[in-house]
Amino acid sequence: MVGIVVVSHSERAAEGIAEIAAEMAGDTRIEPVGGDGKGGIGTVPDAIEDAIDAAAGTRGENGKEESDGDADGVVVLVDLGSAVMNADVAVELSDAEAVIADAPVLEGAVNAAVAATDPSATVESVREQAEAARDIEKL
């Protein structure tokens, strides 16, 4: 199963986006991460790396084992600017197979969550669906 990480400058924004995406996500692992680690706005690469590892199942928080072992990779959704760079650093540091989706963070996370419920989903198929969210028109 493909895991999802939601990165935002705001921890609460990341949690809220993950909450919305989880509605559509079945038992997909969605890990929110954000904030500067001191209660302020920002992102920290180490924290993002931990979230990637948790979403990949290599560092499960509740110790629950997936029946088919680790996740089939992780798709990372990010908000803006330095969050993208910090996510990029985290992807390189993590041993998990992870990619950043070039997509709006909320719409992309929802699309990714839906795509990840497909039993044949891969990192690429989930990323593709997340990036399709760039074309969503609202009016």
Binding site: G42, S82, M85, D88, V89, L93
Partner: protein, 253 residues
């Protein structure tokens, strides 16, 4: 082997000496950035969000503490520790750019600090900054200071066979010219790029920080080698016939 060839910018020296020199360099950078905090913030308030001085000062102070706490470190460990600390402590884009690049370039110092590893370190660092920031020369970023510095350092070592301390002095001069170059150009990356043409006429804070860091590396290297900082500039007296990227066995014609 003369005293000039040992220590921070030369080989061979014990890993302990090199590690101690690396820690001293980090401490010097932290002190300098703290001294320049208001200056950097002033530069950033003109074209950014006025947080560069504070962010960098906080990050480098934490990095100096972390480096000091290392037990008998080698240069690779110092560089990695400083990079990780900067990533965690410096907010905004400077964390991944200054710190993240350092974490990855640190691997080039696995065999200690020699002219060869120093060039590899510098090249890897520049490459990471360019990739991460998706910035090139002329975008009014730290790349405008780093690129001439790294190119000049590499050429001074590989083509001109200068001593590392002289190559570093030339690199500092090149970085200074790079910082000056950021003034009359328009920002294409980072928050300053939102200003469009209004960014013209302002010196880039990130490039300025990079210059301060290089100046301190040079000062610490000269101090550890117990030599004067060489008076030099980045220009070259001759046109070389040897391209370090296309070395061949033949002499050419």
């Amino acid at each position: 082997m003369s005293e000039d060839d040992a220590g921070a910018a030369g080989a061979p020296a014990g890993a302990n000496d090199e590690g101690a020199a690396a820690v001293a360099a980090v401490e010097a950078v932290a002190e300098r950035i703290e001294d320049e905090r208001d200056h950097l913030t002033e530069l950033d308030s003109a074209i950014g969000d006025a947080d560069h001085g504070g962010n960098m000062a906080r990050g480098w102070a934490a990095a100096a503490d972390a480096a000091r706490d290392l037990d008998d470190p080698d240069p690779e460990t110092v560089a990695k520790t400083v990079g990780k600390t900067l990533m965690a402590e410096v907010g905004g884009a400077s964390g991944p750019l200054f710190g993240g690049s350092l974490v990855f370039a640190a691997g080039e110092l696995g065999d200690g600090i020699t002219p060869e590893t120093a060039v590899a370190f510098a090249e890897t660092y520049l490459e990471k900054v360019e990739d991460r920031g998706d910035a090139r020369v002329g975008d009014q970023t730290v790349v405008d200071a780093l690129t001439p510095a790294v190119h000049t350092f590499k050429k001074s070592i590989e083509v001109d066979d200068l001593r590392p301390i002289e190559a570093l002095a030339k690199a500092v001069d090149a970085a200074e010219r790079g910082v000056a170059f950021t003034v009359p150009i328009r920002a294409k990356k980072g928050r300053a790029s939102y200003l469009g043409w209004r960014s013209v006429g302002h010196q880039d804070p990130g490039a300025t920080s990079a210059l301060f860091i290089l100046e301190e590396l040079l000062a610490v290297a000269a101090d550890r080698l117990d030599v004067e900082v060489p008076e030099t500039d980045a220009s070259s007296p001759t046109i070389p016939d040897d391209d370090p990227d296309e070395r061949t066995d033949s002499e050419g014609d």
